[in-house]
Symmetry: C2
Subunit: 82 residues, 2 copies
């Protein structure tokens, strides 16, 4: 398992409610791809969302996000963390 | 206090040791700017580093990073998180 940080752009004005719905949609299916989303953070002003996950691959992270209706724009493995 | 996610580009090949040194350099002076760095993640392959902090302003986050010798390329307030 590897840790990943993925980034979504273009979601200006995202609200706490919309973010919760999107996150719950990910959590509802993540087990099917052996992915676990740990945290997510959003900047409504620039329209940027960051998601931290543990997953077997970037493709698995993307499959969850795509199936949940919000494909990521970037997915980076982040093997180093403190 | 606001939570911020800042991003550093162009650090391809960053090592765990170099990351620890940089992080410790931030922690050593963060109190002087009323900033607290909570977590940091790095992708050595793309050369991207993410830092999560709580701070009074983006400028305060940048002052710590600049004084520690590694100015951030992006600093986003992330008032929403889960």
């Amino acid at each position: 398992m590897t840790r990943f940080m993925d980034v979504h752009h273009g979601v200006k004005g995202v609200t706490a409610e919309r973010m919760r719905e999107a996150y719950q949609a990910d959590l509802a299916i993540e087990e099917e791809e052996d992915v676990h989303f740990e945290r997510t953070w959003a900047d409504p002003e620039s329209g940027t969302v960051y998601c931290l996950s543990e997953a077997p691959s970037a493709e698995a992270v993307q499959r969850v996000h795509e199936r949940a209706g919000h494909k990521a724009d970037e997915i980076h493995p982040v093997p180093l963390s403190m």
